[in-house]
Symmetry: C2
Subunit: 197 residues, 2 copies
Amino acid sequence: MDALERLIGELSRLPGIGRKTSGRLVYHLLQQSRDRMLALAAALVDVAERVHPCRGCGAPTEDEECSICRDPRRDASLLCVVEEPSAVAVLERSAAFRGRYVVLGGRLSPLEGVGPESLRIGLLEQRLATGEVREVILATNSSLEGEATATYLQQVLAAYDAVTVSRLARGLPVGGELEYVDGVTLTHAMTAREALR
Amino acid sequence: MDALERLIGELSRLPGIGRKTSGRLVYHLLQQSRDRMLALAAALVDVAERVHPCRGCGAPTEDEECSICRDPRRDASLLCVVEEPSAVAVLERSAAFRGRYVVLGGRLSPLEGVGPESLRIGLLEQRLATGEVREVILATNSSLEGEATATYLQQVLAAYDAVTVSRLARGLPVGGELEYVDGVTLTHAMTAREALR
């Protein structure tokens, strides 16, 4: 197989990139300078060689511990459990949370063969063993698999009865209109309605 | 800037890939094995180092001349001028054309600073100088810029009065319904209607 075909093949293995898009990207790169291609290749090699999961939370980092785990100003008594590193990025942007994280590295999915042993539950238990944690916020996705993962973690956390366990609130998106909200979310928003006075 | 940020930045410079998609792709790669990232990097380096424009037509190839230019069974009297290598791929799949190509490497676009000197018009004239070419098919896109490029090439080709110049037919897509065809295409299809008897 020639170099072009191989590159198109490699790119089209990325999620959301089919062979047509992949071909378009490669022809675009060919039209740009050779240096752009080499810069992209070098960036990939750098990440492959230098980035690994943080010892403290599992998020990708170049150091032994990520900047959040190293930051002494973060509240060690609050632990937020997320599925993917992208969730950490989103929460950090919102600045709604100043505690620490555990990145599971996925969600329970029997169909895809992902059981508890594939997730970083050991890291979560390691954090709990320090005795510093007061509350664990289960911030897995609100999908079927995310809910199943949260339910499983609740069972794991049952052994730590001094620790509060919570889940991100579900309801209407702020600024959203009732008309566009799906029925399940609306039912939940109604059930979990907040008293005003 | 750290390795992750740099890779996300490099990927987001590709067309149609914003920072969010780029982040998603990088996190996906991190979840896969390191080898997948290195394979993608190696494929990029290979293309950057080994692929260059074909001496005969300008399409990307690893050899001095591409397989189409080398093929003695191709009709050297027919020359099809396209904007991008992707157009060659599309025409080859349809098997509607058995002549040779010239890949311009773009289209005239004063707004983007692309003038005739940026296109492979020299290659076209080189082919015409052999005296073998009987017909040049201008297969640039049917966009404003593609039409402008075709008009410009028609002027260049005016010097070769023994050569027929043609343009791909425009009209209804085969299998398409009138209802969904835009007005300009429909007007053209009406004007260029084909006599049945």
